[in-house]
Structure formats: structure tokens, C-alpha cells
Amino acid sequence: MTTTIRERERRTGWMLIIPAMLVLAFVYAYPIARSFWLSLFTENLGTQLQPVFSGLNNYGRMIQDGRFWQTIANTMVFTISTLVLELILGMGIALVLNQAFKGRGAVRTIAIIPWALPTALIATTWAWIFNDQFGVVNDILLRLGIIDTGINWLGNPAPAMLSVIIADVWKTTSFVAILLLAGLQSISNDLYEAHSIDGASPWQSFRQITLPLLMPQILIASLFRFAQAFGIFDLIQVMTGGGPGGATETVSIYIYATVMRYLDFGYGAALVVVTFVLLVAVVALAAFFLSKLRTATTGDA
């Protein structure tokens, strides 16, 4: 036998890994690489959908594209507001789910239901809730005397943005809560007991024990949620289609419209590239802080 055991083991290892990696390369690496390439061409109705090399033209056009900058702004507003709200609410729910009470299992089950449901269906649900004529939100606000006439939630810019943010927060808070709950469960109760013997109030315990020890989970949840919110598509597409007047149009919606409605493939590809680069930059930054935090809390490199 000429090969060593280790070589045979490695060969088996690669054979186990390669099919999965091929699928990933085909579905992830190729399309993204292809977008980089395509972004150097103009390929739209003007060129009869034939690719014509145009260098960095698409990127030049993007700089002057007011709609593009608007979508970036919308995306940031959406991403940051949902992120903040989800972290606060998710923390609250995680604290509730971490309490010992009868029926906790049932409440945990209920709390993860929103995460499991299809976003597109949730979008129709919330569109119905925010319906201008028959929506239950308007009815409640009217009954409480907060408003005099129904608001056209999805038909006005600011209310529309508020609506999609509320719908997204509802849908994904449970994901944040699950991750934070796992972190809470790993904090030993002794710490709280020792701290309360020292005379700390629950709020002080939360600030001085829970929050610092939960930092890794908070950052990981933020990272996941940032990426998902940044690429939000289905919820907005179904609820508002990006409207009214582009008020809720995020980058994904714009890319989709550019490709599918305007058939502007080259420009769509350039938008994909920019989104990709932005996202990778943020992820790299977050990963850097995460590893710094790990070394800071555990003390090893």
C-alpha cells in the first residue's frame, strides 16, 4: 500500500465535502461572480438585451441615480429601526421566556410561531391589519379617539414605512428572542443571587450582569438580523411593492424591479455588486468586533 492512512482519510474527507461545496459554488459563488462580470456591460432594452461592454458606466450611473440613493436611505431606515426594536422587544421576550412559570413550554412555543411563518403570508396579514378602509388598526385608533378619520397606512410614505417596520418586527423578534434566551440560560443563577445579596436591584443586575454576559449573543443576533433586514424583499414586495412613490423601496426591491420590470440586466448586476460589497464590509466589521469582544470576555486569543 503506497498511500498513508492520513492521506486516505483526507481523500475521504474531500469526497464527503465536495458535493456540498459544489452546490454552494453553483448557487452562491457563480451568480455573484457573474454579477461582477455583468456589471461591466450594458444589457437592457436600449441594447436589445445584448451585452455591450461599457466599463464602469453602470457605476457612474449609479452615483447620479437619485432613486438608488433613496433606496439606500430607505434600507438603512428600515434596517436600523427594525434592528433596534427587535433587540429591545426580543430581550424583553427572552427575559419572560427565561422565567420559571407554569406553562412556560407552551408560551415558548407560541413565541416562536411568528418566526416560523412564511413572510409573504405575514405580509398579506399585516396589509389587511393596516387596511385603510376595513383595517383593525384604524378601527382601534378611532375607537380610542386617537384619530378622527382612518389613516391610509400603506398609501402614505411615513405610515407605509412604519407599517412594514412593525410587520417585520413582529415577524422576526422571536428569532432574536430565541438567540438571547439561549444566552440567558447559560448565565448561572448564582451570579444573580450573589449580586442581589450584595444589595443590587433587578435593574442593576440586568445592567451589570445580564447585558455584558449577553453581549456575544446580542452581537450575533444583530449581525444575522442586519443582513436579513438589509436584503428584505418579500415583506415589502407583498405589502407595498416599494410604494407609495418609492417610499418603502429598499435595495432588494429596486434590484428586482430593475431586472424584472425594466429588464436592465447590466445595471441590476451593478446594484447587486454594490449591495454585496456593502454587506461584506459590514459583516467583516462585525466579525472583527465580535472576535475582539470574545478575547475581551474570555481572555484568550
Binding site: 500500500m1 498511500t3 498513508t4 492512512i5 486516505r8
Partner: protein, 363 residues
């Protein structure tokens, strides 16, 4: 011809972690070799190297004269019993025992025959259709043994197979193991940190420390002629007295007393004296060399008492003596004798055993 030969085995995980350093060993048919040493000294690693579960950094493993260093574990025809037993949890006892044989394409009648024979021998007959989860610790241990036995391998490897059993069961199974492997006529390599197991089971013991082979001898000789200070201290309970003493002329100085060195050598300036507590005895009138000391501690071990004695004139040296409980001695002071032929001498620096032959000073 040795059935199992290890030559110059070395396993280096990293420059600092070298659990096996140049170990060479032979195990013949019917020999029972125990690898004995403290936890972390590399015993399991040697066993895993023999099994092929790890690859040596250097060195060779031969079975029946054939170099198997690069053979996969399954191609070496070995059987291994793990500390955790490693029974396949989803298979019945029967299938656990049969699995290795099926892979070797042994006919199903032959499998049935072998399993029946072994299970009769081990008293497993009525457990055949159970899953490991439905067995007691002792039963699992037996199934693990049975799985190894039905394989009829060229070498048996056992890694601390008794350490998960409670003390009572351990003694019983230890006795059984001895019977079982005496009937096998196949090389056995057995890993333990328990010297009682090593002493009772083995035909040969390899004492290891930090990846180095310290001594390879029959158990009796490990006890009577420890090759160095480490082996002397590790084997035997209570631990051997090891005292670093100054030398004057042909004597080692212990407090007010002079202990004669053997042979006709010029002594080194310092020397380590070793004597087992069970060999220290109360002095009798006929003894020429005796020591007096103060009893500072008496531990009752049942049959005997373990005394810690401060020797007169040597305030920082304690000698421990194991004396029969029924023999009277003064509660305060005792006079002890060290039988000269049961005293071991070791080099202070290297820890090597010194005999009248190698005690010759080179300087």
C-alpha cells in the same frame, strides 16, 4: 518471533506535546503486556497507534512480522476494548458482537457458533437480544469483551477496561480477565494506571512516564528491581521511602546513623536510598544496623499500621514503616531495621538504579 513489535515509535502532536517518545516493545503470543503509568503519560496514545487510530510521527508497528504502520485499523485484525465500552447503541448485543465479523465476511453459521461459544463463556446467553441501554455497567463491559473475543484477532488491545466499574465488580472482573486471556494464546496489550491490575494480570509490565519507557519487566521484577526512582515511587503502595542522603566513606548518612553501601565502590557525594515501608521492620537483638526514631503519625490500615517516623538526628527526613498491628512497640519511640538486601540505591541526579556493579564511580 514476536507477534507484535513496536520499534522506535514516536508521536508528536506539537513540539510541546510528545506523548510517545521512541518506544520499542515486543509482545509474544500468550504474553499479557500492561502499559502502566500516571494519567497523561501516553498509554492510550500507544494503544491507538497500535490500533491505527493515530499515525506515528516516526517508527514502525509490525504484527506477525508484517509492517502494518500504514494499514487502516480495520485491516490489522486487532480487537480493542474501550474504557467507555463503545457499544453501538442502536444494535442488539448479538449484532454488536457480529458486526466486525460480518464486515470480514465470516459466514453466518460461523458467526453464530463463535458468539454462542463466547457468550456461554461470559454468561451473556440471555442478553443477546437486548440493546446496550438495557444493560448494567458490568454487563456492558462483558459485551465489549465478548465483541473483542469473537473476533479472534491477532492482538487484543484494552484501554482501562475496568475503570468504569465499581470497586467490588472490578476485582471480580479482573480475576475473570486473567482466566480469559490465559486461555487465548494471543498477545494482549492492556492499559491501566492501576498498579494492582498491572501486577495481577500481566506477564510483562511497561512503566511509562511522560512518553518515555521507564522499565519493561515481569511484574515481580518491577517490584523487586525498579529500574529508577520513578518506577520505584510509582509501583507499590504505600509508596516506597525515597530519601536523598549524603555519603561518607562507604556509608550513607541518615541522621545519627550510617547505612553501609553495597559492593566495593567509592561512593558518590550524595545518593538516594529507597526502601519499601513493608520492608522496614522492628529491630531485633540480632540486627547490627538499627535506627531509632520518633513516631509522628500512625495510620491504621486494618491488618497493619503505617508509621511515619522521624529518624534521630535527621529532622527533615521521614521514614514510613508498615508494621503488623499485633506487634507491640512503644507509642513514642521505635527502633527499626532496614534489611540491607531490600534497600534500593538510586543516582541522585539521573534517578537510575545503582547496583554494586554500576556504583563504580567514574570520577
Amino acid at each position: 518471533m514476536a507477534k507484535l513489535e513496536l520499534s522506535h515509535l514516536n508521536k508528536t502532536y506539537s513540539p510541546k506535546i510528545i506523548p510517545v517518545k521512541d518506544v520499542s516493545l515486543d509482545v509474544d503470543d500468550g504474553e499479557f503486556l500492561t502499559l502502566l503509568g500516571p494519567s497523561g503519560c501516553g498509554k492510550s496514545t500507544i494503544l491507538r497507534l497500535i490500533a491505527g487510530l493515530e499515525q506515528p510521527t516516526r517508527g514502525e508497528i509490525r504484527i506477525d512480522g508484517k509492517n502494518v504502520t500504514q494499514h487502516s485499523p480495520g485491516d490489522r485484525n486487532i480487537a480493542m476494548v474501550f474504557q467507555s465500552y463503545a457499544l453501538y447503541p442502536h444494535m442488539t448485543v448479538y449484532d454488536n458482537m457480529a458486526s466486525g465479523l460480518k464486515l470480514k465476511r465470516v459466514s453466518s453459521e460461523e458467526i453464530r457458533r463463535r458468539i454462542e461459544q463466547v457468550s456461554l463463556f461470559l454468561g451473556l446467553g440471555n442478553l443477546m437480544q437486548r440493546k446496550p441501554g438495557q444493560l448494567s455497567g458490568g454487563q456492558r463491559q462483558r459485551v465489549a469483551l465478548g465483541r473483542a473475543l469473537v473476533r479472534q484477532p491477532d492482538v487484543f488491545l484494552l484501554d482501562e477496561p475496568l475503570s468504569n466499574l465499581d470497586a467490588l465488580l472490578r476485582e471480580q472482573v479482573r480475576a475473570e480477565l486473567k482466566q480469559i486471556f490465559e486461555s487465548q494464546n494471543t498477545p494482549v496489550v492492556y492499559v491501566t494506571h492501576d498498579q494492582t491490575e498491572a501486577m495481577t494480570l500481566s506477564t510483562k509490565v511497561a512503566v511509562l512516564s511522560n512518553g518515555d519507557l521507564q522499565q519493561l519487566d515481569p511484574p515481580r521484577r518491577i517490584y523487586t528491581h525498579p529500574a529508577n526512582r520513578f518506577v520505584a515511587g510509582f509501583v507499590g503502595s504505600p509508596q516506597m521511602n525515597l530519601l536523598d542522603l549524603k555519603c561518607e566513606g562507604k556509608f550513607a548518612i541518615l541522621g545519627n546513623y550510617k547505612i553501609p553501601l553495597p559492593g566495593r565502590m567509592t561512593p558518590p557525594p550524595e545518593i538516594t536510598l529507597g526502601v519499601r515501608p513493608e520492608h522496614v521492620r522492628l529491630a531485633e537483638p540480632s540486627d547490627t544496623h538499627t535506627l531509632q526514631g520518633k513516631v509522628i503519625l500512625k495510620e491504621n490500615l486494618g491488618m497493619s499500621d503505617l508509621l511515619s517516623v522521624k529518624v534521630k538526628g535527621a529532622e527533615n527526613q521521614t521514614l514510613r514503616a508498615l508494621l503488623p498491628s499485633d506487634r507491640p512497640w512503644s507509642a513514642e519511640e521505635v527502633t527499626l531495621a532496614l534489611p540491607p538486601d531490600l534497600i534500593h540505591w538510586f543516582d541522585v541526579e539521573t534517578g537510575d538504579r545503582l547496583t554494586s556493579e554500576n556504583l563504580q564511580p567514574v570520577y
